[in-house]
């Protein structure tokens, strides 16, 4: 870990928050449990403003509704109550202004790496040469050079996720949504991906919302960390991470911040566990 990073360390300051990009006000989400017909409140009265070109990491206990919130931003899930808007317009469904990266990659196995990445532009009827030029740019930035003609099945998990990230960026969305992007990768791969892609996120100039369950991922990558409570989700922590990039996992400032977030998160997890134990008739 003490090895010199491959790229030139450019100590970039954290950009000042821009105009509000995504505004969530009084968001509620309720599900009907299919088994017992009970109403489950996943998210309750949630307010969150995400600013233009801000990198926000959302973290929370598992099952807290953070992915549901991300899917609402993407337009995959409806909101039960409240308003959710982007650039002042309500979010009504998915669209190419928001790119998505899933934990499970969800690549198209019948398309090569290059063709996976150009697909979004093909859908928008961008001429092939132009689409390929755009794709090649992101292939370079995500470290996929040389793999253009490979099929996804031949790639490792880390490479697959690079393809998914390049694919989401290639059609130039304003917002990129990352749903536990490194969750399916082993620790080594994850470490190198986070390090290699640090500059990518800055150069992309996008508003990025990442859902994760890893505190270190959140603190190393994001401009701002938001912690959701256990279900129903509320915001219990919301702080900017004013540490210059590139960030080192061993930097005391990073470690301090990680400890701070971990304390908030583990207090919440404890509370959730106690509540669940209380509900357990055996009471263990």
């Amino acid at each position: 870990m003490s090895a010199e990073p491959a790229f030139k360390p450019r100590l970039a300051a954290i950009p000042d928050p821009g105009e509000p990009k995504i505004v969530a006000e009084g968001i509620n989400k309720t599900f009907i449990n299919r088994e017992n017909g009970e109403e489950v409140v996943a998210i309750e009265n949630l307010d969150l403003t995400i600013r233009d070109q801000e990198f926000v990491a959302i973290i929370g206990p598992s099952g807290c509704g953070k992915s549901t919130f991300l899917y609402m931003l993407a337009g995959f899930e409806d909101i039960s109550a409240g308003t959710l808007s982007m650039d002042g317009h309500p979010v009504t469904g998915p669209g190419p202004d928001r790119g998505i990266v899933f934990q499970e990659f969800i690549l198209f196995p019948w398309r090569t790496v290059l063709r996976n990445i150009t697909l979004g532009l093909e859908m928008q009827k961008v001429p092939r040469a132009e689409a390929e030029a755009a794709a090649r740019k992101w292939i370079g930035l995500t470290g996929l050079t040389g793999f253009e003609d490979a099929y996804p099945a031949t790639l490792s998990g880390g490479m697959k996720q690079r393809v998914a990230i390049a694919r989401a960026l290639a059609y130039n969305p304003e917002v990129v949504l990352l749903d536990e992007p490194f969750g399916a990768l082993d620790v080594q791969t994850k470490f190198y991906m986070i390090r290699d892609l640090q500059t990518l996120w800055q150069e992309a100039h996008k508003t990025i919302v990442m859902v994760t369950h890893s505190v270190s991922e959140a603190v190393i990558m994001a401009d701002r960390v938001v912690v959701f409570s256990a279900r129903p989700a509320r915001i219990i922590y919301d702080e900017r991470i004013d540490i210059a990039r590139p960030r080192d996992a061993l930097d005391p400032k990073v470690i301090d911040r990680q400890r701070e977030v971990t304390e908030v998160l583990s207090a919440e997890v404890d509370k959730q566990m106690r509540r669940e134990a209380g509900r357990n008739p055996l009471g263990n």
Binding site: P94, W110, L119
Partner: protein, 284 residues
């Protein structure tokens, strides 16, 4: 890599490796040839030496001669073999072609629409276990001794496998695949041609492989009952009337060879260009 390979010690082992690979390749060819020709040779000897009844089991050389004669101007009718093979193949190609259309449409209706599922699922579950041949008497009454009867048998035999596999393929397409397409701004038509069709293709090919196997077996049987003058099934049935045992065995050999070509060469090529190239696993 190259500097290691060019060192003298490595070249020798490399050459040994290459010759071993070459031998492996030859053996892969030779093994099936041996395993088929040895029993034929024993049969030839047994028949000629009178160990077995040479009327009921004419030696393979006699069978091949009979086929050769029937394939030439001395055949009854001249060039009979070609007519029989052509008739059977035509029925297979037309029947399978129709099944491809019917099966894909019905499969997609079942997997993608609620009403399609409601209408077709029960019907298919009820009809699927019926052996295709059981339909032949009905078809004979409807169409008479006609190509339509045999083609319909092929259609029925192939359709169910195609429907089953198309439904399985569509069920395997994750909800997230459609989410990715929609967040790329894909229209319904684009989603259909760029996601659904290629996503289902590997399953369609698997269904086709199994369906053709069934169709080939059903067709030969149906031709025995419902072909007026041509077709391999008819040829065998007709030869039995005249005790032309060599033609019966010749027909069996042709059925085996053509079945092998259909299932392994034609479909093998199709699979090599899709499933194998993409490295997709089809679960069944």
């Amino acid at each position: 890599m190259t500097d290691i390979a060019s060192s003298p010690a490595c070249t020798a082992s490399r050459r040994a490796f290459l010759t071993r690979r070459n031998r492996e390749k030859w053996m892969a060819w030779l093994r099936p040839v041996i395993s088929i020709s040895v029993p034929l040779l024993i049969w030839e000897l047994a028949s000629r030496l009178g160990w077995i009844n040479s009327f009921l089991f004419p030696p393979p050389s006699q069978i091949l001669t009979a086929l050769w004669v029937q394939a030439g101007p001395q055949g009854r009718p001249p060039y009979a073999i070609f007519y029989h093979v052509f008739a059977s193949m035509m029925r297979i190609v037309i029947g399978v072609g129709l099944a491809l259309v019917v099966g894909t449409v019905v499969g997609m209706l079942i997997a993608l629409t609620a009403w399609g599922r409601a209408i077709f699922r029960p019907i298919i579950s009820a009809i699927m276990p019926v052996p295709t041949l059981a339909w032949t008497p009905v078809l004979l009454l409807v169409f008479g001794i006609d190509n339509r009867t045999t083609i319909t048998v092929v259609l029925i035999a192939t359709s169910f496998e195609i429907i089953y596999n198309v439904v399985a393929g569509l069920d395997m397409l994750s909800k997230r695949v459609f989410w990715v397409a929609r967040s790329m701004g894909a229209s319904h038509t684009q989603t259909f041609f760029k996601v659904i069709v290629p996503g289902v293709l590997p399953y369609l090919i698997t269904g086709l492989r199994i369906g053709i196997g069934f169709a080939w077996r059903a067709l030969i049987a149906a031709e025995m009952l419902a072909a007026s003058s041509y077709g391999l099934g008819f040829m065998i049935f007709d030869a039995a009337e005249y005790f032309n045992i060599d033609i019966i065995f010749g027909g069996i050999m042709l059925i085996a060879i053509l079945g092998l070509l259909l299932e392994n060469v034609v479909l093998g090529r199709l699979e090599a260009a899709t499933i194998k190239r993409w490295g997709v696993q089809v679960e069944r």
